[in-house]
């Protein structure tokens, strides 16, 4: 076999790298099989006699097919296709006979690299793939240059990639994006994602409290609402069996009164990360909703776009609003109780004047009760199995937001005040670099809404009523503290972690812009962006693309192909300028003519200039052929050449 050992090693390294991130995505049987073949091939570099024979290769192929078959995925779709290509790549590695096979392997490797993007689109992955591409191209350079110096080939590949980048970016921006037709979607199974569900029971939200996973990002076009206003509404839960709260079964799409919206709206762009549910979390109260978004009768936004894709929405929300009257259905829904209240509860409501005073009085009494009595806010409340609300209210006094919200709503309903639980997210970490908010799973929250006469649905957050000293310090809720749900002065912010925070914010911003402008640059974003540049239709787009590519090509050609034999010695360059000046007078230096001979000829036909021609020539000879050069001479020489002119 005539394939250079170096090239093989280089290639195998690149292939090993390309498949590495797939360990996370593919079943271990496939990756194990692949890396077994790769190691076999690697050993074969030194011990070619150990490489599999034709029969063994056939056997290996059968094994590969068997593995694929056992996974029951067919050959279409993301997972199945990736497995197929990885397996094929592994098998092809064992059959390298000619240069052609190397090319095939490299092409397969590029496909596998692309498949990685179907699983992960982070900036790290992109950088990683870029590096691996460089190694793959380096292999090609190696093959075509018979270069044993792999470093040199790698450098060449890097240079080519660098030269290709501007053009890539232009094509990326201007290449028309079209949604793929529906039949082209493959049904892929997805891993279940964590996040808010359509029901809630004690522990649902506290499970999320430790999760750092990003849910969405928001960039405001105007002012950013203060932390206390940042309630991102999600599903509204109305039905309860005393323990578990669910969305109601009535049709959420039935028409409701248009709320009265006043005050200054917040306008923002919301970039939802891939989700299981088609919910979009907006500030109360979203208005002017247009497709693909829809506002249901709980004022919750739902989208008709594929929630599995990162999607961007433009939303306007009014912080002050009045939802007006309540329908009968709504009233029934919002006062539903699993059964008659117990004596303890009735007594408590009674004591807090729930039955004999206006609703807002009762509300403040109740909040005051949470504050003054011995209530604790904790991530790890004691297990409450039987009757969590009563257990919480009268025994443990310890709970997380869901405990407070459910207890609050329950008590409201006992007092015949329509109330419901709203789940969603509260707060958001402001990224000062990019001026946007990061909302993570840890910010999941539950609060209450009560319906009040003349005011409509009003948000009440009972968790905010807890006395600060009763917040358990050991739990990781300083985020919520910072966001003002719980008001107490944080002492965790030290200067040492400051720069870390800054760095994190900087990175967060890079990531956000990456998501927005690269990952999420779809046909809508493209047309928006391009029309802001005045490029509106396909034809102009293509003209621009062709034009800019042409320009880049021209620049590149100039850089790459400009007269390569040019001397770089400044003295020679200056002397050539001098010769150029003399061309006007018909004096052309012959290639084989020395400077001195030329000056003799020049002096003869330009007697007035004789002195300066002589001086320039002497200096040039001194600079170019002399024993020691100094910079003064060079400067003098260059200025003499510059000043050399013919009097008119």
């Amino acid at each position: 076999m005539s394939i250079n050992k170096n090239i093989l090693l280089f290639l195998l390294a690149a292939i090993g790298l390309i498949a590495l991130p797939h360990i996370e995505n593919l079943p271990s049987s496939v990756t194990g099989y692949f890396y077994l073949l790769l190691s076999w091939r690697l050993v074969g570099v030194w011990k070619p006699q150990w490489l599999p024979t034709k029969l063994m290769l056939l056997l290996l192929t059968v094994i590969g097919i068997a593995i694929l078959y056992s996974l029951h995925e067919g050959i279409f779709g993301r997972d199945a296709g990736t497995r197929l290509f990885v397996t094929a790549l592994g098998l092809k590695l064992l059959e390298i006979k000619s240069e052609r096979d190397l090319y095939l392997i490299i092409f397969l490797a590029f496909i596998v690299a692309t498949s990685l993007f179907l699983y992960q689109q982070s900036i790290f992955m992109a950088a990683y793939i870029l590096v691996v591409c460089c190694v793959l191209l380096g292999t090609l350079v190696c093959i075509n240059s018979s270069h044993s110096k792999t470093w040199h080939s790698l450098k060449t590949a890097g240079v080519i990639i660098a030269q290709a980048l501007p053009m890539t970016i232009v094509i990326f921006i201007l290449f028309p994006r079209v949604e793929a037709p529906k039949w082209m979607y493959f049904n892929d199974k997805h891993q279940a994602k964590t996040g808010l569900g359509d029901n809630m029971e004690p522990g649902t939200i506290s499970d999320l409290a430790m999760s750092d996973e990003l849910v969405f990002r928001v960039q405001f076009t105007g002012t950013i609402p203060p932390p206390a206003q940042r309630y991102w509404r999600g599903p509204v839960l109305t039905q309860t069996d005393g323990k578990r709260w669910t969305q109601n079964r009535i049709d959420l799409s039935q028409p409701i009164d248009q709320p009265k919206l006043t005050g200054n709206p917040y306008q923002y762009i919301l970039l939802m990360e891939p989700q299981d549910k088609n919910w979009v979390f907006a500030l109360a109260l979203p208005a002017d909703v247009s497709s693909p978004l829809r506002r249901n009768s709980h004022y919750q936004l739902v989208t008709s776009a594929n929630p599995d894709k990162r999607t961007e929405y433009r939303i306007t929300s009014y912080p002050t609003y009045n939802t007006g009257t309540i329908t009968k259905d709504e009233y029934q829904e919002a006062t539903q109780l699993p059964g008659p209240a117990s004596a303890n509860v009735t007594q408590l409501v009674q004591r807090l004047h729930g039955f004999d005073s206006p609703p807002d009085k009762f509300i403040s009494q109740l909040l005051n009760h949470f504050k003054t009595e011995d209530f604790y806010y904790t991530l790890t409340p004691p297990l409450m199995q039987e009757n969590p609300i009563e257990q919480f209210l009268f025994e443990s006094h310890r709970g997380f937001c869901e405990h407070y919200a459910t207890a609050f709503v329950y008590l409201m309903r006992v007092a015949h005040i329509p109330a419901r639980i709203v789940t969603g997210y509260q707060g958001g970490e402001l990224n000062q670099v990019g001026n946007f908010l990061d909302i993570k799973q840890a910010y999941a929250h539950a609060w209450a809404e009560v319906w009040l006469e003349n005011r409509g649905w009003v948000r009440i957050d009972p968790t905010a009523a807890i006395a600060p000293e009763r917040i358990e310090q050991n739990i990781n809720i300083d985020q919520q503290v910072a966001n003002g749900i719980i008001s107490f002065t944080p002492n965790s912010a030290s200067a040492a972690v400051d720069w870390l925070k800054n760095a994190r914010q900087l990175w967060g911003n890079v990531d956000y812009q990456w998501q927005r402008w690269v990952i999420n640059y779809d046909n809508k974003n493209q047309s928006k962006f391009l029309s802001s540049l005045g490029i509106s239709d396909l034809k102009t787009m293509i003209y621009w693309m062709a034009g800019i590519i042409g320009l880049i090509t021209a620049v590149l050609s100039w850089v790459l192909l400009r007269n390569p034999g040019q001397p770089t010695d400044p003295a020679v360059l200056a002397y050539q300028r001098f010769c150029k000046k003399l061309v006007v007078k018909g004096l052309i230096k012959r290639p084989g003519e020395g400077a001195k001979d030329f000056s003799k000829r020049a002096k003869k036909s330009l007697p007035e200039q004789a002195a300066s021609i002589d001086l320039i020539t002497q200096l040039f000879i001194k600079l170019h052929y002399g024993k020691q050069q100094n910079n003064n001479d060079l400067q003098r020489f260059e200025s003499l050449v510059a000043r050399f002119n013919f009097k008119h």
Partner: protein, 301 residues
């Protein structure tokens, strides 16, 4: 330092009329410690030139007339049996002189020729296991008839390479020839010549020549010339590395004679015909014509 040289050249020019360039080249060759080959028809002043130079430099001078029956021993000397002492004693040949004129070298057999050329190369003579150094300075001027004459053994190329330069004298121009005819006998003139450059001075000058600077750019030009001769279809074979060294040395001497401390391309061009003419084989026989393509095609910058 240069004054002596100029005076020497001037005086020589008064003896050999109308050949300043050839005289200059001959002196250049001397300064570069090379040997000179003069190729021309008889009677144009080859002998006069060498004799004049020997006189002006105060060197002891010997002329060897090469004939077809000259033996190596005639040139380098031989051990002779001395009947009185019953021992062999070495009788040095004609070559044991500071300046040797090897006249009509191509008349001798190759064996005699190579004896001379070996001595030239090694600056010493080995006879029957004993080595005798040649005097210093040691300078050979060989003359050669144009090869087309009958009964000659042209020097093979490998031997030609041992001469730093080959020059052609050619007929003098009309004015010079008239002056020659009307003037004194050259022979008498030469006899009365004073020494213009003593051997020690010559040695100093030769040393100074080696100190002449050759810049990188100049070496590139030199290499370009060598490469051109190797690749051009004009030449059957290119210049050898030894020829390249010779070219540079001669150019240094030429630069020195022109009172420069660094070589410039014009120096190389000036000596190129003399240095490379006999080393290159091409359709032409005239040195200037042989190197003309080099001068026009090899770029200086």
């Amino acid at each position: 330092m240069h004054n002596d040289l100029e005076q020497l050249l001037q005086t020589a020019n008064q003896i050999i009329l109308g050949k300043p360039r050839q005289i200059r080249l001959a002196v250049c060759c001397l300064l570069a410690r090379g040997h000179l080959l003069i190729e021309d028809i008889p009677g144009v002043g080859k002998t006069t030139l060498s004799h004049t130079l020997a006189k002006l430099l105060g060197l002891n001078y010997q002329r060897i007339q090469f004939t077809s029956d000259i033996l190596p021993a005639d040139i380098i000397g031989a051990s002779v049996f001395n009947a009185q002492t019953h021992s062999f004693s070495f009788h040095p040949g004609a070559i044991f002189n500071q300046m040797v004129l090897a006249d009509e070298i191509n008349r001798a057999t190759p064996k005699a020729q190579s004896a001379l050329l070996e001595a030239m190369e090694e600056h010493q003579v080995t006879v029957e296991g004993k080595t005798y150094p040649l005097p210093a300075p040691f300078f050979v001027i060989a003359t050669q008839n144009p090869t087309h004459q009958i009964g000659t053994f042209p020097l093979p190329e490998s031997q030609l390479d041992r001469f730093l330069m080959r020059i052609e004298l050619g007929y003098p121009d009309l004015r010079a020839e008239k002056a020659l005819l009307s003037g004194q006998r050259r022979h008498d003139l030469i006899d009365s010549l004073p020494v213009k450059l003593a051997p020690e001075r010559l040695h100093q000058l030769q040393k100074a020549v080696t100190r002449v600077h050759a810049s990188d750019a100049l070496l590139d030009y030199c290499l370009a010339i060598i490469n051109y001769t190797r690749s051009s279809p004009d030449y059957h074979c290119g210049l050898s590395p030894r020829a390249g060294l010779a070219l540079l040395t001669a150019a240094k001497a030429w630069a020195f004679m022109n009172q420069r401390d660094a070589v410039i391309p014009e120096d190389i061009q000036a000596v190129l015909a003399a240095v490379a003419g006999h080393r290159l084989r091409s359709g032409n026989t005239n040195s200037e014509a042989i190197v003309q393509p080099i001068l026009t095609n090899v770029a200086v910058l």
